[in-house]
């Protein structure tokens, strides 16, 4: 026993010594750092001067072992003068910073080691004095669970109050209102369960922490209570399921005549942009055939279908308020996702098939700006399915306007079937007369 205490003191002493060293090492390093720090600045200014590089690399080498590893990469700098774009020079400060972080971490570890040792000695002396309570730590952990419970509930409240406020904007579409109602009902239910379960879980952990003279209550099962908490969640879930199922059917299962009477808009996703196609005066979107894609006809519109001749290319998505819109979502290359958070609208753009989403916007952009008190506010459609390097910036502005503004905007948009495309189309089909016929029928 005596021997054991001795070794503990020794290791404590060694620990303290190590801490001293750790504190001292960065200080030593930083002294040299002040001399070395000036060098890289010059180095970038006079990159051809190998003398500066040499001093720099020696300065680096003297600091610490890790930094010394940087020296070889600096010593190749002279060759960099001949082929400057091939060799990259990393500023030695980078290695120094890394070293400091590692040292900082080691210091923290050392501090923890020391605290651990002190604590061991403390418990050891308690043991020697015969006042050691084996359950003391158990109680501490139980109390910590109680503290955590309070902090957790506070954190949840903070989240709801602050972040919830940031994130919540009421839906601006008809079906979106149903979605929101359900969202709020679900939120109320799960918040109650979340709070109750955590109060019980962590509260029980505190209340029933181990005591020296207690024995747990042998209670292997209670069929009645188990049945109760099988049936209650089942009933709650059934209600949610039915509500959700019928809302879902209402959103996705639209009667045929409403499908036809809605405004039709087609959206084509590709890496990393969206193209919007409105039907022209005929109200019909022309056919698309991916095989007819050319540099001019990037959309791949099949101009053999005459209903495509008057199709209009929208520079952004503009839709009239309070009128059902049916979006046809296509993809040119890989899967994208057509997502407008404010509208509660999302459907994937899948190559080889057309997906549809029909909805009715109820609030114009102007009204929304007033409501949000933000004159810059815009609805936005963004890609929500991983699609490559610029996935994070694949967006299209969405504007909800009055019927009059919509017609005015639409009249200003260009057609897909421009003169160049007409020419190309005619050439591809080797028919000169066709060209004139097209021109005649369009103008």
């Amino acid at each position: 026993m005596k021997f054991k205490i001795n070794t503990r003191f020794k290791s404590l002493f060694a620990g303290l010594l190590a801490v001293n060293l750790f504190f001292a090492a960065p200080a030593l390093a930083s002294v040299q750092d002040t001399t070395a720090a000036a060098a890289p600045v010059e180095q970038t200014a006079v990159a051809t001067d190998s003398a500066v590089v040499a001093t720099d690399s020696t300065a680096t080498a003297t600091t610490t072992d890790t930094v010394a590893a940087a020296a070889p990469s600096n010593s190749v700098t002279p060759t960099a003068t001949t082929t400057p774009e091939e060799v990259k020079v990393i500023d030695p400060q980078v290695y120094k910073n890394l070293t400091y972080y590692i040292l900082f971490f080691l210091v923290i570890c050392a501090v923890f080691a020391v605290i651990g040792k002190v604590h061991s000695i403390y418990t050891l002396t308690k043991r020697v004095n015969g006042t050691y309570n084996p359950l003391a730590n158990n109680t501490i952990q139980a109390v910590l669970f109680l503290v955590f419970l309070v902090a957790f509930l506070g954190f949840v409240y903070y989240g709801y109050a602050v972040w919830g406020d940031w994130s919540w904007r009421p839906a601006v579409t008809e079906h979106g209102k149903d979605v929101d109602t359900m969202f709020i009902i679900t939120t109320v239910i799960i918040t109650v369960v979340l709070v109750l379960v955590h109060i019980l879980l962590l509260g029980f952990a505190f209340l029933y922490r181990m005591r020296a003279k207690r024995k747990a209550y042998f209670y292997p099962h209670n069929d009645a209570i188990e049945r109760l908490w099988t049936i209650v969640p089942a009933v709650v879930l059934t209600v949610l399921v039915l509500f959700g199922f019928f809302t879902w059917r209402k959103i996705t299962n639209i009667p045929e005549e409403l499908k036809k009477s809605a405004l039709q808009v087609e959206v084509l996703g590709e890496q990393f942009q969206w193209t919007i196609r409105y039907p022209g005066t005929d109200g019909v979107i022309g056919k698309r055939n991916f095989k007819m894609t050319t540099p001019l006809n990037g959309y791949g519109i099949d101009f053999n279908d005459k209903s495509s001749w008057d199709d209009i290319k929208g520079d952004e998505i503009v839709i009239p308020v309070n009128r059902p819109v049916r979006f046809h979502i296509l993809s040119k290359d890989i899967i994208h996702s057509f997502y407008i958070p404010d509208f509660r609208v999302q459907i994937n753009a899948v190559p080889g098939m057309t997906n549809y989403f029909q909805f009715t916007p109820t609030v114009t952009t102007e009204e929304m700006r007033d409501k949000m008190n933000d004159p810059q506010y815009n609805y936005v459609m963004l890609c929500a399915k991983i699609c490559g390097a610029s996935h994070y910036n694949m967006q299209k502005n969405v504007r909800v306007v009055t019927e009059a503004e919509y017609s005015e905007w639409l009249s200003k948009q260009a057609k897909f079937f421009t003169e160049d495309v007409q020419k190309e189309f005619a050439e591809l089909h080797g028919d000169d007369t066709k060209e004139t016929r097209i021109a005649a029928s369009i103008n």
């Binding site: 990393i90 980078v94 971490f105 730590n137 955590f148 954190f155 989240g159 940031w166 994130s167 979605v179 359900m182 969202f183 679900t186 799960i190 369960v193 979340l194 955590h198 019980l200 879980l201 029980f204 029933y208 181990m210 024995k215 747990a216 209550y217 042998f218 099962h221 209570i225 188990e226 099988t230 969640p233 399921v241 959700g244 199922f245 879902w248 059917r249 959103i251 996705t252 890496q271 991916f290 040119k332 290359d333 890989i334 899967i335 996702s337 997502y339 958070p341 999302q346 459907i347 190559p351 080889g352 098939m353 997906n355 936005v380 963004l382 991983i386 490559g388 390097a389 610029s390 994070y392």
Partner: protein
């Protein structure tokens, strides 16, 4: 029930117990379930650290999208030119982080470790049904890991189509650099991994069914075994489907078939593929993918059940209900996969059906959570680090599971699909919950694996740092998702409505960094204790299960003599009338007359008569 015991008796066993063991057969190509469990665990930990570093890299990018970190260029070279991670590489990081965590850490690292360790130990078997297959299972897994890591060292970079590798993005190399050689390596690695899982799964199932010791009926098995058994069944039925998905994708990529491809114009080039459907891949993928999340979480639930019961010194509440809810999850897990595809263009009616099955699966999960809480009620809780992690696991399972009510609801999923809400949901319910279950298992069974104890104080420190850190990281993400921030976004800089979240990203990243660094406490504790830990007693937690009847030093065949027989269920903690607060499974009822209930005798008339006589003699009034 079946009580076949395939055991060599002691004498016979000793005869060939001394065959020559070299370093190679003992530590590398070992066929011993204990060594294989350790191999799985250590490989899993290494993969976890690797995947965690990847996550820190992309968290740094998200928190400081405009800042340069020259040190990144030192390590990552062209992928972080000028000290800023490139968008392509960001997607690779996300992809490989997900793949490694889900498959290598939480599937192989968790099931592989604890099924191997505990199935023979807790059932009273000398080893697995097929030790050779067991060894092959590890080595397939190991090669899969090596190939996955190797994909970081090829020119076009690792796979970057997300861990779900949806084609056409994953099928067309011109769409993203990572879909070149990196994707091929991903597919090869995953095929090997699945081979490993199938070898393991067959082994677990046959061991559980055939090699239980005398008296170990199915209804006397610990919940850990139930969960490993059902997990293995789920894995065995679902993993092969992923192979088919992977092989077809391989054909599309390399042979020119069109299973998943149709109507593609990539980078201005019209591809010849016609007639395929990307949705087909999603069905095949999620037919594994959804059961996979239960493969990940069920073993964690099993470990937690055992740890909570042992440390609350109280029988697990509703043992039968716990088993039935596991069975319920197992069955239902196969018919819910469509809830990942509500907005992909799958038939909306089918979506409605999947929504119903999905919300039903919440019922058995809820039963489990409530039963854990009931187990704690009036317990006598001992807070070992394992117990802390088990309680943390239940907390995450509830917090993350509840948000499943939004995502499983097709209507609400419209707005939350592929947003940060999903990220928050699954990181809590399957990420954090499973990793906590796994850590709980590591702390609890460490003495069994290495014969030494881990340091408790470091364990507590590790727990609190990780528990608080995980909530700080994942809880705020829910709100980003509700706001409509999609996942896998390289930077939040391009949209005005996302700017407010940059401050939250800072909090999240700092929490992630601190808790990641905190894992060093665990790593130190784990690896240092292998050599320097306190020597473990035989039954450090005063537990009932069979593994604690084996000697501390590992021996070939687990038990030096006869395999012990089992007489009772594993949860006789704090039974009234018994002098200690635990009765191991190996203690016959005839030795515990003072605590027996009449139904403990299971209709054994002699026993009941003896018990009645005893009760009269000692004035015990115990009902049936």
């Amino acid at each position: 029930m079946s009580t076949t015991v395939i055991s060599h008796d002691a004498a016979h066993h000793d005869d060939h117990g001394h065959h020559h063991e070299t370093f190679l057969t003992k530590y590398i190509f070992s066929q011993d379930h204990k060594m294989i469990a350790k191999q799985f665990l250590i490989t899993g930990i290494i993969m976890a650290v690797f995947a965690m570093v990847l996550s820190i890299l992309f968290r740094i990018q998200l928190a400081w999208p405009d800042k340069e970190f020259p040190i990144l260029e030192v390590f990552l070279g062209k992928w972080a030119e000028g000290g800023r991670i490139k968008p392509d590489f960001f997607l690779s990081l996300v992809t490989i982080h997900g793949t490694m965590m889900v498959f290598f850490v939480l599937t192989a690292g968790l099931s592989g470790t604890f099924s191997n360790l505990l199935i023979p130990y807790q059932l009273g078997a000398r080893d697995m049904a097929s030790p050779l297959m067991n060894m092959l299972s590890y080595w397939f897994f190991f090669v899969a890991c090596v190939i996955m890591v190797a994909s970081f060292f090829i020119e076009s970079g690792p796979a970057s189509a997300g861990w779900t590798i949806y084609p056409p993005l994953s099928a067309v190399p011109t769409a993203i650099a990572g879909s070149g050689l990196g994707m091929t390596l991903w597919l090869v690695s995953m095929t090997l991994f699945i081979a490993s899982q199938v070898l393991g799964g067959v082994n677990y199932i046959s061991t559980v069914l055939n090699m239980r010791t005398k008296g170990m009926e199915l209804w006397k098995m610990p919940l850990t075994i139930w969960s490993f058994f059902l997990t293995a069944i789920v894995g065995l039925l679902s993993f092969p489907v992923l192979v088919s998905a992977v092989v077809l994708l391989f054909f599309d990529r390399s042979v020119g078939t069109s299973f998943y491809l149709s109507d593609l114009v990539v980078g201005g080039t019209i591809l010849p593929n016609e007639g395929g459907s990307p949705i087909l891949f999603q069905h095949l993928f999620w037919f594994l993918g959804h059961p996979e999340v239960y493969i990940v979480v069920m073993p964690a639930l099993g470990l937690t059940s055992e740890v909570i019961s042992t440390n609350a010194r109280k029988p697990i509440f509703g043992y039968h209900a716990m088993v039935y809810s596991l069975v319920g999850i197992t069955v239902l897990s196969f018919i819910v996969w469509g809830h990942h595809m509500f907005v992909t263009g799958m038939s909306p009616f089918l979506g409605g059906v999947f929504m119903i099955t999905t919300l039903i699966i919440a019922v058995p999960s809820a039963v489990k959570a409530f039963n854990y809480i009931a187990t704690l009620w009036r317990g006598n809780i001992r807070f070992t680090p394992a117990m802390m992690f088990a309680i943390g696991m239940v907390s995450f399972f509830v917090s993350g599971g509840l948000t499943g009510l939004y995502l499983g609801n097709a209507t609400l999923d419209i707005n939350l699909h592929d947003t940060y809400f999903v990220v928050a949901h699954f990181h809590l319910v399957m990420g954090s919950a499973s990793i906590f279950g796994m850590l709980s298992g590591v702390y609890h069974w460490y003495p069994k694996m290495f014969g030494r104890m881990m340091d408790e104080r470091l364990g507590y420190f590790h727990f609190w740092l990780t528990f608080i850190g995980a909530y700080l990281v994942f809880f705020p993400m829910h709100f980003m998702g509700i706001d409509g921030v999609p996942r896998r976004y390289y930077a939040f800089t391009e949209f005005p409505f996302m700017e407010k979240w940059v401050s939250v990203n800072l909090l999240v990243t700092w929490a992630a960094i601190v808790s990641a660094v905190g894992q060093v406490a665990f790593l130190w504790n784990f690896f240092a204790s292998i050599w320097c830990g306190k020597r473990a007693p035989q039954n450090p937690w005063k537990s009932n299960t069979l593994e604690w009847t084996t000697p501390v030093e590992h021996i070939h065949g687990n038990w030096p003599g006869e395999i012990p027989s089992v007489y009772r269920w594993p949860y006789d903690y704090s039974k009234p009338g018994h002098d200690e607060d635990f009765i191991p499974q190996t203690v016959p009822h005839s030795q515990t007359m003072s605590s027996n209930l009449l139904h403990d005798w299971e209709g054994n008339e002699e026993g009941i008569a003896a018990q009645k006589a005893y009760n009269r003699e000692h004035d015990r009034e115990i009902e049936g």
